[in-house]
């Protein structure tokens, strides 16, 4: 075995066998930002056989405070983050295969990007994309490690298909979290992403070497307070991904909810993914839940205190609420789902 990995082999429970597994592994890193660069560099040092780096953005000066690996030359050369990461990783370990792909992950490309991967690492603060990765990894039964870092707060968790609760089980829907903190409103410092990246890397090699001690919790850290907590990740009975329904993969998360310029309370949901729906079919489905009436132009559905009006192009108006997240949830539950 290559001399360079002696110390790591000594530390790994699986020893040389484990190192061989790492050298035969293929890992896809989605997001080469503050977290992804830390994780990717550690994976390269550890001798992962194939690393695929995915990111479309370019390196900017403001990234230098948090992103490991990058320097001022990268900014001057206007290098895309994935390409800059590839260049630096090659100077760290020239023996492994590294590939960069400059795209934004979306429903049309995610399955191809992760195909043949043994593990996916997500270092992104973008909620909808995490839900998308979750769907794709669940569908193709690929384990993935989530990581997020905003200001002093970071989270990571492992999602092992058929063995642990998934990202959607734990986080529900993109909108329930969207309005809390983002890097834009709360900022970022490097220690948070370094720790999350380090934890992600550790979990990655545990998963790849077949360790029985992989983490099954949601780990949260606060670097300012110096705390790390394990929160139990629970299965969610209503989780669509666990039921084999991949709504984000089908692009349905792109449905948009907007409060109407209507003095009453109402929210309109537009879904670009539904072009034509059959009102009689929906009526049949919904009549079990509430009162339904329809004509050739629209369908009116009353249940509890809600009134939902559905149109044949898939748009819907939710009355008696100004809560956009709730409208989207109801939409996915009753119309788009």
């Amino acid at each position: 075995m290559d001399e360079r990995y002696i110390a790591q082999i000594a530390a790994l429970q699986a020893g040389e066998t484990g190192q061989k597994k790492l050298s035969r592994s293929a890992v896809v890193v989605i997001g080469c930002g503050a977290i992804g660069t830390v994780t990717a560099a550690a994976l390269a040092r550890a001798g992962i056989g194939k690393i695929k780096l995915i990111d479309k953005d370019s390196v900017e000066y403001r990234d230098l405070t948090t992103h490991a690996l990058f320097d001022e030359e990268d900014v001057k050369n206007q290098l895309p983050k994935a390409m800059a990461t590839e260049r630096h990783l090659k100077t760290i370990n020239s023996a492994i295969e590294i590939q960069c792909i400059l795209v934004n992950v979306d429903p049309s490309n995610v399955e191809e990007l992760i195909s043949n991967a043994d593990l996916v690492v997500g270092g992104l603060n973008d909620n909808p994309t995490s839900f998308l990765i979750n769907d794709a990894c669940k569908k193709h039964k690929i384990p993935w490690v989530h990581g997020k870092a905003i200001a002093f707060w970071g989270t990571t968790m492992n999602i092992i298909p058929d063995a642990t609760p998934c990202y959607q089980c734990v986080f529900g829907s993109p909108l329930t979290h969207e309005r809390i903190y983002t890097v834009e409103n709360a900022g970022a410092i490097s220690s948070t992403s370094h720790i999350i990246g380090a934890l992600q890397f550790t979990e990655a090699i545990k998963i790849l070497t077949g360790s029985k001690e992989i983490n099954r919790d949601l780990i949260t850290i606060d670097v300012w307070k110096g705390t790390l907590h394990h929160l139990k990740a629970n299965y969610r009975s209503s989780c669509l991904a666990c039921a084999g329904k991949y709504q984000y993969l089908e692009g349905k998360y792109e449905a948009k909810a907007t409060r109407l310029c209507d003095g009453g309370k109402a929210v309109e949901v537009l879904s670009p993914n539904i072009r034509k729906i059959s009102l009689p079919d929906i009526a049949e489905k919904l009549s079990a839940v509430g009162q339904v009436k329809y004509n050739e132009f629209m369908l009116r559905f009353n249940f509890n205190s809600y009134e939902i009006v559905v149109f044949p192009d898939g748009r819907a108006i939710f009355k008696n609420t100004s809560d956009e997240a709730l409208a989207l949830k109801l939409y996915n539950q009753y119309i788009g789902g």
Partner: protein, 382 residues
């Protein structure tokens, strides 16, 4: 596709507007008034030409007293906030847009007293007599909406102007729905402040508008900065229009606005209005025959701008808008149209109305299609 949302913004624009903006941005888009090179001169010339055209349109004797703004809302804000101080009394109507009511509400919190007159006459306008009765020794400003953006009611600004002038009070007009459609003569109507959008009846692009400030009126500035003139002075120069036009103006937008005004002057403002009113008349006739359709409009045909609202029994306005868009490809606006108080007057608060505002480029055939579509919807009520 049928576009009947011209009260929001006019579309399409005359071909000359597209061409002028394209040419300008390619050839003449230097920074107007900032430099002694030919491109800066050319840009300044286009802007001054637009000012001249607007002066012709509104019978303004001093073009430099027209200042360019981002839109009509911006113009109204400059007028109200530049003029009023705590303790001042303001009289306004109840058919206005939030662009007028919201800045007034803020000023009210700062100590300005605002009196909102309810329509007194049968036709829905406020009466000149009521304005006169509401005046106090502290009345500083009368500000009225020329045309309602919900019902299309046009108020008699020239009559208000007479009253206001007798009392030597500042008179401001919000011409959001009427500029480019009605002959507005600032001298004949004694208008001191005329706020107008560039992107509606004047056929300019979004991001354009203006405010005329009469010689009787002086406004505090809301924004100071570079004007390209008197640069050695620390204070904002006290000359028009520089005083109120700090920073680089929207030259390409103003160029498009100029082309729009030229189009109006060529076509003739009366011809444009006549065409649009003919379409509105056709809509009113056709729609009022349909059972379950209620039209909200000016009571008197003479006071009707080419904007009307409607409601249909059994449907919320937003539902009708969605159906017209997707099943018939008809584009219009629904809801409150940013003018909540007029809906309280006509009884359509809080859900609002469906608004139809045909433009110069709509045809009678299109209006028939709209009527047929609304008839189908009204008949198939659930």
């Amino acid at each position: 596709m049928i576009y009947v949302d011209n009260a929001s913004t006019s579309w399409p624009k005359p071909e000359a507007v597209y061409t002028a903006m394209n040419d300008f941005l390619r050839k003449n888009a230097g920074n107007p008034g900032r430099g002694s090179h030919s491109m800066a001169f050319a840009a300044a010339q286009v802007i001054e030409e637009t000012r001249m055209l607007l002066a012709r349109l509104f019978n303004i004797p001093w073009p430099e007293r027209i200042i360019f703004t981002l839109n009509c809302t911006h113009a109204i804000n400059i007028g109200l906030k530049g003029l009023l101080s705590p303790g001042d009394h303001v009289i306004t109507d109840s058919i206005g847009h939030n662009s007028l009511f919201r800045p007034l509400s803020k000023l009210e919190r700062q100590g300005v007293k605002v009196e909102r007159l309810r329509p007194s006459s049968v036709n829905g306008s406020i009466s000149p007599e009521d304005i006169e009765k509401a005046m106090t020794p502290n009345t500083r400003l009368i500000v009225v909406t020329h045309g309602s953006n919900v019902t299309g009611l046009v108020q008699p600004i020239e009559k208000y102007g007479e009253v206001v002038r007798r009392h030597n009070i500042t008179f401001m007009v919000d011409a959001a729905q009427t500029a480019g459609l009605y002959q507005i003569d600032v001298q004949a109507s004694n208008i001191d402040l005329l706020a107008f959008p560039g992107h509606k009846g004047l056929f300019g692009p979004p991001g354009t508008g203006g405010l005329y400030i009469s010689k009787r009126t002086s406004l505090e500035t809301l924004c100071e900065g570079g004007t390209g003139s008197y640069s050695e002075q620390e204070e904002q120069p006290d000359i028009y229009p520089d005083k109120y036009e700090s920073g680089t103006v929207n030259s390409v937008g103003i160029c498009g606005l100029g082309a729009g005004v030229k189009f109006i002057l060529q076509q003739g403002i009366d011809n444009i209005r006549t065409h649009e009113l003919k379409l509105v008349h056709q809509l009113i006739e056709g729609l009022s025959r349909i059972e379950g359709v209620h039209i909200h409009r000016a009571k008197d045909w003479e006071e009707q701008a080419p904007v009307i609202s409607l409601t249909i029994d059994g449907y919320a306005p937003s539902e009708i808008g969605a159906i017209l868009d997707q099943a018939f490809d008809i584009k219009l606006r629904t809801g409150l149209h940013c003018a909540p108080s007029v809906h309280k007057l006509i009884g359509t608060f809080p859900h609002g109305t469906v608004r139809l505002s045909p433009g110069f480029f709509n045809t009678e055939e299109e209006m028939n299609t709209v009527i047929t579509a609304i008839e189908k919807i009204a008949r198939s009520r659930i």
